[in-house]
């Protein structure tokens, strides 16, 4: 019983730290989510466009970033960028490290978003875009009005997976001076709290965030299944 009380106290005595940490994790997730979905979709549009230069750029970007560890992207932005006089300003009322963190997440995650969106474009039947072209739509209209809206429906499940992976990847920011969920541990260590109980609560926190996403994904998968 005593042990249980200790575990419980680990959380309630340090509620401020856990709240601040997970709030920053959520902020990182939301900002990087919007950013990577946008940039990833733009990259996908480049990769299916009729312009070879854009196709080449998209392919080079995706193949480079996909084979680079996210930790290296973080390290580059935090340690190397100041050496070439790129100092990222603080945004959203937070430090420059926070800015570096979400930019690293956007750079990395958008490569995976791009590949998912591109595979989604393939699932839309050729008749759709042929019909759109037949009534005189341009490439931009075919993609933006006809193909992508239908593609997004069928790629919701894999896209959610990419977003879940990104949520878990926010913990890497802990190694780069951002107080988010992963960094709670180091701060708790300074306060002399139990490490293992702290990590237990962080794990529970992530499960609380991820389980609804997984559940939503399963529901979407069933309800949005497209029969083509």
């Amino acid at each position: 019983m005593d042990e249980l009380a200790t575990i419980w106290n680990t959380l309630v005595n340090n509620g401020d730290l856990f709240r601040a940490g997970f709030l920053n994790t959520l902020y990182l997730f939301l900002i990087a989510g919007v950013g990577s979905l946008t940039w990833g979709t733009v990259l996908a549009a480049m990769r299916v466009s009729p312009v070879p230069a854009l196709r080449g750029f998209g392919a080079a970007y995706v193949n480079t970033i996909r084979n680079t560890p996210l930790t290296l992207v973080f390290a580059f932005l935090v340690f190397a960028a100041p050496n070439i006089e790129i100092v990222l300003p603080g945004t959203f009322g937070r430090s420059g490290y926070f800015t570096s963190a979400y930019i690293a997440l956007i750079i990395y995650t958008s490569a995976f978003v791009c590949e998912v969106v591109r595979s989604g474009v393939n699932t839309v039947s050729a008749g759709q875009s042929e019909a759109a072209r037949a009534i005189g739509m341009t490439f931009g209209q075919v993609l933006g009005l006809i193909v992508l809206p239908q593609a997004f429906r069928s790629i919701m499940p894999p896209l959610t997976s990419v977003m879940i992976a990104m949520l878990k990847n926010t913990t890497i920011a802990a190694g780069f001076s951002v107080l988010e969920a992963g960094a709670i541990r180091a701060n708790m260590s300074e306060r002399g709290e139990s490490q293992i109980y702290t990590l237990l609560w962080i794990t529970i926190g992530f499960l609380v965030l991820i389980v609804p996403l997984v559940a939503a994904q399963r529901v979407l998968e069933r309800q949005w299944r497209v029969t083509r």
Binding site: V48, P50, V51, A53, L54, F57, N63, T64, R66, N67, T68, P69, L70, T71, L72, A75, F76, F79, A80, N83, I84, E85, I86, E115, V116, R118, S119, V121, N122, T123, A126, S129, E130, R133, F139, V142, L143, V147, I155, P157, P158, S161, I164, K168, T171, I172, A174, G175, G182, R185, Q195, I196, L199, T203, F206, L207, L213, V214, Q217, E221
Partner: protein
């Protein structure tokens, strides 16, 4: 004799690349061609501008000065870099073997007829895919500090990589086993083999074979994730990079060091990815005889991908 063959292959490749987008736009006429060419020129200019800006920034801040690259000429520093690479490969190598074992055991567990095995195996696999990998490493590295039996960073890195990638591999194996035609296990049972024999002799070898592209792709993920060891002070490539970049005598050569390290990582991962894709194609061409579907190399696998095929 040679020329027509070449043309045909070129044609086939062009068609394969094109089928993604060929239906999105017509074969351009003269005006569209001009438009595309203009957009292409603007895009090429923008990309060139971006490249020039990056180059200018690097050049202006002296990243191409000899001093920033000088340390790569010292043998002791080359050895340091090599040791970092070896540490990365060591962690990845041990973790790959352990994760394969973990994956095979838990895939078998999830497919067991006994709920006593099935339920815990399912729980473990789902749990370890949901916990951030870094937190798993923290558990091993900092969690053991309380109990007094401190493990080394290598053990912590391997622990995390094994549990996470082992769980993902378990799902890959499970999908592979379920994809083996039913007649295979029925025939094996008819011959009098036991459940364990059917699994180890008949199903698992075929599943591993058909899922090989996915398994290798997962190894790319594992290799990349060894870089997390940097955060828990495992002296791998990125950790060595931080040390090298932080040297004042060479004017803090972070940029050059990270560029070199990025090339190493990208080279290794691109080779593995290419191998996975090549294997997929090769097996697909051969597989027509066996009829077992071959897994895709570039599938995105992460939590919650267990149910249903992607896309």
């Amino acid at each position: 004799m040679n020329a027509p063959k070449k043309t045909r292959r070129g044609f086939r490749r062009r068609r394969r690349e094109a089928d993604v987008s060929a239906v999105l736009y017509d074969i351009p006429g003269p005006r569209a061609r001009l438009r595309y060419r203009m957009i292409g020129a603007v895009a090429a200019l923008a990309i060139a501008g971006l490249a020039y800006y990056a180059f200018y920034r690097l050049w202006e801040s002296g990243q191409f000065d000899a001093i920033k690259w000088q340390q790569f000429t010292y043998e002791s520093i080359q050895i340091q870099l090599l040791n970092g690479l070896l540490a990365t490969l060591k962690a990845a190598g041990i973790a790959v073997v352990l994760a394969l074992v973990f994956g095979a055991v838990f895939a078998t567990g999830r497919l067991s007829d006994h709920v006593l095995f099935r339920a815990p195996a399912g729980f473990v696999v789902e749990l370890f895919r949901a916990i951030p990998l870094l937190i798993l490493m923290f558990f091993a590295y900092y969690g053991t500090k309380d109990t007094g039996l401190q493990v080394s960073p290598l053990v912590a890195v391997v622990f995390g990589l094994t549990l996470y990638n082992g769980s993902v591999l378990a799902e890959i194996f499970r999908a592979g086993i379920l994809a083996v035609p039913k007649g295979q296990s029925e025939a094996a049972y008819a011959l009098g083999l036991r459940k364990a024999q059917v699994m180890t002799l008949i199903l698992m070898p075929q599943a591993v074979r058909s899922m090989l592209p996915s398994i290798i792709s997962q190894m790319v993920v594992l290799l990349k994730d060894t870089a997390l060891g940097f955060i828990i002070t495992y002296e791998e490539l990125l950790y060595v990079g931080k040390q090298m970049g932080g040297r004042l005598v060479f004017g803090f050569p972070y940029v050059s060091t990270y560029l070199v390290i990025a090339v190493i990582y990208i080279g290794m991962c691109a080779f593995l990815s290419w191998f996975a894709r090549w294997l997929e194609r090769w097996m697909r061409e051969r597989g027509r005889k066996t009829g077992i579907p071959v897994a895709r190399a570039d599938e995105i696998r992460d939590p919650a991908m267990a149910q249903g095929p992607p896309v």
